[in-house]
Amino acid sequence: MQIFWQSVGFGFVTASVLAISAVGLSLQFGITNYINFAYGDFMALGAFFTYVLNSEVFHLNIWIALVVGSLAMGVFAVLINHVIFSPFARRFKKTFYVLIVTFGLSLILLNLEYSIWGADVRFFQMPLAKVMHIGPLLLTRYQLIVMAIAVALMLGVHAMLKTTRLGKSMRAMADNTTLAMTSGIDTRAITTITWFLSGTLAGVSGTVLGITEGNLTPASGELFLFVIFAAVIVGGVGSIYGAMAGALLIGLATEISAAFINPAYKLDTAFVILICTLLLRPSGLFARPGKA
């Protein structure tokens, strides 16, 4: 029973990391209508920005480095959109072409990270964490902070989307871009802000992934990308709330399954859930009609 509760605790931690990354990916998809296959590399790059600030150059506290590194990743995502994605999206109306560009960018970023930081496993500079009992769950202080960050970000994204002018503009644009433009919404500005938010969330999720896993490599994000896709598709592609629900389901299922079967099959659990969802409810739990 103790193993079960421990795996539930891990499940919540994995779900937290997944939720941040899946919401970042879904926000960007909702506005641009194409999946960014370089998102895993955005995560790793964001984590390395934090790593540089925390371990290599400035030796900042990990949480301050996380904020600065993630914001830097947000700015980087905006630049990538302006220099690469936007020109392609303007030129080619079919999103398929931009999809191929995201694949290409993924390879470029991955190799860029390898050339700068090498293939060695890196570690954040953090003091050893105390283990705490929260009811039946056994969690470290860092894992609790990661969960708190995820909850705070999910609540923040929800409040932003539901109550602010920016959030309503984003939802309107995700619904119908041309109508949003003719209604007076600056769709270019909203796209830029969305890339910033998506990139920042990629930076946060990449860093918290490194914190919870205890290490980071250039491939960390890419390996995790498949689980993020599973969460996004199970939740319903393009749905922010679906992404949150999908993250919770996949996070808990993969970690609880690891308590009873070989942990090497964790990814397979995610794919079994994904395949079952695609068979029974192909549009996902919280489907958004009208999106590709």
Binding site: R165, K168, S169, R171, A172, A174, D175, N176, T178, L179, A180, M181, T182, S183, G184, I185, D186, T187, R288, P289, G290
Partner: protein
């Protein structure tokens, strides 16, 4: 000066123009309607006015401001709003949120304006928290018009606002159009139904093959051989 003036406007997709050298104006407190056969360029003209398409020549002036090269999202701030024929509401947003988004381009108090709009469109009052996608087709069209009115525009451009509606709801929409025109607004309507257009409009323009073939007061146009005009022949009475 009319509220809207389009002078010698030519526009289209790619390098092939769909509309050629079109000149048209719309006055405050009046309904101006564009009719014509399918493919005449009516919707293309509407999209050109509101910045979805760029004119290759000519100019568009709203309230003395040249909006010809203006970014599309800035045009509502200058008083010209657009209600497209299809997909004219944000389906996943509630009625209230649709109206709020419509008011983003306005500097006025959105809440107060929303009250005024809901007083005009009483059908929408009971559905303010409902997602727009769950409204009937007629209610969606009314919501689209209501959303456009949130900026208190001087010109409202409606692209086939009664397409696909029941005769009863068509009358409701046209009565609202007449009401809007009296609110110191120039209403420009693209319409397929010639009979209704002539009945409810002050001015009528007939587009044929991308050109403004004939225009005049509605009662003058009613006396013309419209079938011949639609087929591109000269307009004999």
């Amino acid at each position: 000066m009319p509220a809207l003036l389009a002078e010698n406007v030519t526009a289209g997709y790619g390098h092939s123009p769909i509309i050629n050298d079109i000149t048209l104006s719309a006055e405050l407190n009046s309904v101006t309607t564009i009719i014509g056969p399918n493919g005449a360029g009516k919707s293309t003209f509407a999209k050109t006015l509101v910045g979805i398409l760029r004119p290759t020549s000519g100019r568009i002036v709203v309230n003395d401001v040249d909006i010809t090269r203006m970014a599309g999202h800035l045009i509502p701030r200058h008083g010209l709003v657009y209600v497209p024929q299809n997909d004219n509401v944000f389906k996943r947003l509630t009625v209230r949120e649709n109206l709020e988004v419509g008011g983003f381009a306005s500097r006025a108090n959105t809440a107060a304006r929303m009250e005024e709009i809901l007083d005009i469109f009483t059908d929408l009052q009971k559905a303010v928290e409902k997602k727009a996608g769950f409204l009937s087709g007629g209610q969606q069209n009314l919501l689209a018009i209501a959303r456009a009115l949130m900026v208190d525009p001087s010109v409202i451009m409606l692209d086939e606002p009664t397409a696909g509606l029941s005769p009863a709801y068509t009358d409701v929409v046209w009565s609202q159009i007449a009401r809007i025109a009296k609110l110191n607004t120039a209403v420009l309507v693209v319409e397929q139904n010639v009979e209704r257009a002539l009945k409810h409009s002050d001015e009528v323009h007939i587009f044929v093959a991308g050109r403004n073939h004939v225009h005049g007061a509605a009662d003058e146009i009613a006396g013309l051989d419209l079938a011949s005009i639609f087929l591109g022949r000269s307009h004999a009475s």
